[in-house]
């Protein structure tokens, strides 16, 4: 290790000035708070977050240009972050990086933040490539912990952590707003080989794919990081049957078994989940059709058409899918109307595209992995039969809840009526 300086005190304040746009705020905050905790767990340092005044250490995200930093960033890749040595205290992250948590995609915010906090505390770069303080980002590590060289470095500056002060100092570290939860083994789906539970064109035109306990976004340029469903939508279980967002009401409805959940953005509406009464449980899929502003629910070979804002006589349903969606498969895994105005059905590893007249287009079905998930053709023997990546019981996942601006909900007929 190399030493660049030290603080003349061991209780330091910090301030998070802004957060990255690529992570839910609570996830990003949890990652930054954990970055401090790595160091306070091995050295007699305490960190306290403050909202006002000038904190000792100040964390912020900026792009290529910043009026507050002469050391500009360079866009995605290359330089990820930089920090000042003691007792200056600035830590800057490149806003253009894909900051992530809990996934191999993108750049792990927690690990990079811990590295930069190391600089802010006085550590230079380590010559051990596996050390946190190595200059090059070694990628996401689910079992991340400090390297002995990192520990030796920080302890050379501030001494060893005394065992009898552990509890007191743990209390001073203000993390409890975002608890760390140890989870049971959970299969992390491989978007390239997993069949989907649900697909949804969500608020702000984001496309979400759901499988098991996980959800990820699908963009024109690639896939977003995998999040636990409950990390984005607090209170929502995994293994959903269907999901649908209505631009008409801003409501997102999730279906599983005989229950329905309603969210506006990431906040659950009061009174939910509710029991499904007027439609059958265990739905296959759901979609919003902008042409008539109705929500369609699918199960087996039938569908229900539901108006969110008017009382719907659902006793006339289900009706056969093939009567309205010509050529679409029965028992779809997922369905959605997309940005191009087309309706899509997903089943197994294939998807169907329908014209605006709801006829399946020529050339379909096509492969979901290739056309939606940006996957290259598989090389035999490189993918597990299940397509799953298994997490260990020792994995720690940040159990977080993003906040969202809620809207006032009126009393309207619902699918639960």
């Amino acid at each position: 290790y190399l030493l660049l300086g030290r603080w003349r005190k061991k209780h330091l304040t910090f301030q998070i000035l802004n957060l990255p746009s690529t992570l839910p705020p609570y996830t990003a905050r949890a990652a930054l708070l954990q970055a401090f905790k790595y160091w306070s767990s091995v050295a007699p340092l305490t960190f306290q977050e403050v909202q006002d005044g000038r904190a000792d250490i100040r964390l912020s995200f900026h792009g290529r240009q910043s009026p507050y930093c002469s050391n500009t960033f360079d866009g995605p890749g290359r330089v990820l972050a930089h920090a000042d040595i003691p007792e200056l205290g600035s830590i800057h992250f490149d806003e253009d990086e894909l900051w992530t948590e809990g996934t191999y995609w993108g750049v792990n915010l927690r690990i990079i933040a811990a590295h930069e906090v190391g600089h802010a505390l006085g550590l230079g770069h380590s010559r051990y490539t596996q050390a946190l303080m190595a200059p090059v980002y070694a990628g996401y590590r689910p079992y991340f912990k400090l390297h002995p060289d990192d520990v030796a470095g920080i302890q050379s500056l501030y001494g060893k952590k005394s065992p009898d002060t552990t509890e007191e100092e743990e209390e001073e570290m203000q993390v409890p707003t975002v608890p760390l939860v140890t989870i049971e083994p959970s299969p992390m789906p491989n978007p390239c080989s997993s069949e989907l539970d649900a697909m949804m064109l969500g608020p702000r035109g984001k496309t979400y794919a759901f499988k098991g306990d996980y959800v990820w976004t699908v963009t024109d340029s690639g896939l977003g990081p995998l999040f636990r469903v409950s990390a984005l939508w607090e209170g929502l279980p995994g293994n959903l049957d269907a999901a649908v967002y209505s631009p008409r009401t801003q409501w997102i409805h999730f279906f599983k078994g005989d229950k329905v959940w309603r969210y506006i953005n990431f906040k659950m509406s009061p009174g939910f989940p509710k029991k499904l009464n007027k439609v059958e449980p265990n739905l296959d899929a759901a979609l919003y059709w902008p042409v008539n502003q109705k929500v369609f629910l699918f199960k087996d070979s039938g569908y229900w058409q539901w108006d969110e804002l008017a009382r719907t006589d659902l006793s006339r349903y289900p009706k056969p899918i093939k009567e309205l969606f010509t050529g679409a498969p029965d028992q779809p895994s997922a369905a959605m109307s997309w940005r191009d105005g087309r309706v899509y059905f997903f089943k197994g590893k294939e998807y169907w595209r329908l014209t605006r007249q709801l006829l399946v287009e020529k050339g379909y079905p096509r492969n979901i992995a290739h056309n939606w998930m940006h996957c290259r053709p598989q090389i035999p023997g490189t993918t597990s039969s299940t397509g799953n990546i298994t997490l260990s019981t020792t994995d720690t996942i940040l159990d977080t809840t993003p906040s969202a601006t809620d809207s006032t909900l009126g009393t309207t007929p619902s699918v639960t009526d």
Binding site: L2, V79, L80, H82, A83, V107, H115, G124
Partner: protein, 80 residues
């Protein structure tokens, strides 16, 4: 080994930006070949790469990896 001009500039920028080469306080910015070789050797050693002093593929790949913006003061001059 011949490097394209822009490739050489990128390598020199990297070695300068991260502290493997130091601009002289006076005189021209032209570095001697032995200075560059020594800087490359320091970078390779710090990166746990084979130490050749040559700009090989592994060294190029290492320089393209995402990293921290702070210098790597691994060479003997900086340590002094």
């Amino acid at each position: 080994r011949v490097l394209r001009r822009e490739e050489k500039e990128a390598v020199m920028d990297y070695l300068l930006q991260y502290g493997y080469l130091q601009k002289p306080l006076e005189g021209a910015d032209n570095f001697r070949l032995e200075d560059i070789t020594e800087a490359l050797r320091a970078f390779q050693e710090a990166s746990e790469l084979p130490i050749s002093g040559w700009m090989d593929d592994a060294t190029k790949a290492r320089m393209r990896q995402p990293r921290c913006g702070l210098e790597d003061p691994f060479n003997q001059k900086t340590l002094k």
